[in-house]
């Protein structure tokens, strides 16, 4: 017997759901092997992780807290990836938006009417995220500079810039030397819904729906689809490639920016160390695992957040490194990328020898 791969004519919906799910199972098995090597019981560990992430109301809201930035950055990255614009700068866009939101909250908060403050903070934060993504977009469309490198390097610029601010000029004088800005005025706080889970969750879910609608039901979405599939074809159809890439990447940056705004206004309520737990990078896994589909992103984001929260629990309860959760996230990506083989191809088993082939044919 030999195995043959046959290209699929229509993308199989079942495979689109099954492959990410199977990738998750494979990663559980792979991580299980590692856990055994650590001398831990994989089943007990997974049970502890699950309980840590979903076991109580508090656990679940903490999972949601981490899912919010993953949803927003996941959406931003998915939009960019659909255009084959490899935006791996979600982390930087998130950070810079957090910085801009902080600036507005602590400086304009002193004179701005309180009902206007939060909307302004959100708006400026999103614009900052968009602007930070706009730099690589313009460099790519105007000068053909590779966006992968630029977005990656701008992450460091944004992160170091934020550190400079909260260690230096923006450091809270009453903060006992703790690196961080003064707390935001209450008018700049993102309202919380349950536990620490804030209104950003509603924004994220709404934006997931909105993005799906724009991509699938509007003229602009149609243009982006053509552009993502073939820039040459788009140009021939009278669609401006450069303008649309820049526009879409601005939106992508704004979505990542909103994640940063949510973190500073909803969770820490000041700019301080640990603004992002690498959400911008995990977003890449979220986007791929969600098959770049905006409607799938929220679910995947919750799963990834559960791994993070559950990982923390494992550290506390079982004395295993917390990075076990991050390790599992990474482990998902490999089977996921390998799994795209199954969404694109159908597998057929055939006989190697012609004579045996005839027999197998009859049996089929």
């Amino acid at each position: 017997m030999s195995i043959l791969f046959e290209k699929r004519k229509n993308i199989s919906r079942t495979a689109q759901v099954l492959v990410p799910a199977a990738s998750f199972v494979v990663s559980l098995i792979l991580t299980g092997i590692l856990l055994l090597a650590f001398g831990a019981d994989p089943f007990a560990t997974y049970r502890a992780m699950f309980r840590g992430a979903f076991g109580s109301g508090r656990a679940f809201t903490e999972t949601l807290v981490k899912a919010i930035p993953l949803m927003l950055t996941g959406l931003g990255v998915a939009l960019a990836f659909r255009l084959r614009f490899w935006n791996i700068g979600a982390e930087g866009q998130l950070t810079l938006a957090g910085v801009a939101a902080t600036g507005v909250a602590i400086f304009w908060g002193r004179w701005m009417p309180s009902f206007l403050l939060l909307p302004t903070v959100i708006l400026v934060g999103c614009l900052a995220g968009a602007a930070w993504a706009g730099i690589p977009a313009l460099l790519r469309t105007r000068l053909k500079v590779d966006e992968t490198l630029v977005t990656l390097m701008l992450n460091y610029v944004a992160i170091l810039f934020s550190e400079y601010l909260y260690y230096g000029p923006w450091r809270d004088p009453k903060g006992y030397g703790f690196p961080g800005t003064e707390p935001f005025p209450e008018a700049a706080w993102m309202p919380r819904i349950a536990g620490r889970a804030h209104l950003g969750l509603v924004f994220a879910l709404f934006l997931a729906l909105a993005l799906w609608f724009v991509l699938n039901r509007t003229r602009w979405g149609f243009e982006l689809k053509i552009l993502g599939a073939s820039p040459q074809a788009a140009r021939y159809q009278g669609i401006s490639v450069e303008r649309n890439i820049v526009l879409a990447i601005l939106v992508s940056g704004a979505l990542c920016g909103l994640a940063g705004v949510g973190e500073v206004t909803g969770i820490s309520r000041r700019l301080q160390q640990g603004l992002s737990l690498g959400y911008g990078y995990t977003a890449i896994i979220v986007a791929w695992m969600g098959q770049l589909n905006p409607l799938a992103v929220p679910f995947v984001a919750v799963l990834m957040a559960a791994l993070l929260v559950g990982g923390d629990q494992v550290q506390m309860m079982m004395g295993l490194p917390a990075s076990m959760g991050i390790l599992m996230q990474g482990m998902i990506l490999f089977p996921l990328l390998a799994g795209s083989l199954f969404t694109e191809y159908r597998i057929k088993r055939t006989a190697r020898h012609p004579a045996a082939g005839a027999a197998a044919e009859g049996a089929e």
Binding site: K9, I11, W220, A229, R235, E361
Partner: protein, 512 residues
Amino acid sequence: MDASEPKVPLVEMRGIRKSFPGVTACDGVDLRLGRGEVLALLGENGAGKSTLMNVLAGLYRPDEGEIRIGGKPVEIRSPRDSAAHGVGMVHQNFMLVDTMTVAENVVLGMAGLPLVPDMAEVKRSVLELAEKYGLRVDPDAYVWQLSVGEQQRVEILKQLYRKAEILVLDEPTAVLTPQESEELNVVVQRMKAEGKSAVFITHKMEEVMTFSDRVMVLRKGKVVVEKVTSETSPRDLAKLMVGREVLFRVEKKSFEPGAVILELKDVRALDDRGLPALRDLSLKVRAGEILGIAGVAGNGQRELSEVITGLRPVSSGGISINCVETTNKTPLEIIRSGVSHIPQDRIAVGAVGDMSVASNLAMKGYRDAPISRGVLLLPRRILDLARRMIESFRIATPSPETRVKFLSGGNIQKTILAREIESCRSLLVAVYPSRGLDIGATEAVRKELVAQRDAGMAVLLVSEDIEELLSVADTVLVLYEGRAMGTFPSAEADPEELGLLMAGVERKETVS
């Protein structure tokens, strides 16, 4: 079976079956090729000719069947295996590396090549082979510097260098001038005289008649007939290939041109490499006229279609459509002025392979009612429109939602044609619209072009098929190195003379 069948076949393929999703490309095909024999494989697109030869060349593995070479059963798992058995294939899209020299390309990928090949030795043998077979080419030239015809010679040299005994040529003359085809024939005859064999894939009758000893006609993956070439005629073969009588003539109304729709005045433009592609080109196309652009590929045809449609900047000169200046306007502005374009590269430019047939059909009309309202798309209307167009243009597709890349070349072209004709308001620019299509699809394309002309559109038809130009176009302009070599009413044009002009012969005489 036929009496002419060789006694000890060099290659024997038995019961080859190969299927792809939804299609059986080869359905139990038997093939025999004798030593020193040239076999023509004739058939429409999708008849299974290329698949069969790709099986022999090791690119596809058959689902079933057996291959014998020199009487012994062999297993061909890769192109390297097939090369080891003396099979060399020249593909339709050349497999050369542009940035490497001819000599480097010749040895590239050979089994058992030393780490540092002796290039001086390679060059010497390349020159020797070139001399022996009349394949003029400079071993030190870079592939990107070569014309399409020269690149083909490199491909053939590559196979000869690898001591191929069986040369497979996939539509070798599709990109050649009549003169170049003649030269290719000389090469093939020389190889034959040496006892080498060749199989060539084609859907042109004249080629079968001039090149081959024997001809095998395939239809829908099966062998329809196998004949000695001299005992058959082009008309017979065409009938066998399509399965019905074929009209070689196109019916059209008498020529009554109207107002000038498209006018180019002294247009200059550069190609992708920044070299002059159009040199002071002037032309006019009137309503109800098909202007045929004759010329060998690469003489400015693509650039001409691109400057008209706004895809390439004009460096000097002017273009007007319907008496409105459109020089260097955006593609969208030109689309809005009623211009349709069937591009040269249908897979990468004309259609989006990963999107559905319905989406591809909507790619021009999506900006307006009825398939969009304001910024919203109306998916149901897109599907309705697609169903109607699939029906009226006879696009063979399993459903409107099938991805375009799974259609045959002819049906991809019909999809583009349907969309562009549907949206055409004044000018249709068609670049090689029937290239690579089978007789049935070619006929459909030509009929549509003529229908557009009869409906009062101006049509600019770029083609390298003289027969097509003479039967479809009203006026023919010969393009050579971006210049107009002359314009003739098609009724008065002489194919021989056009062929010479296409090769730039007149110009050379007048200059020197």
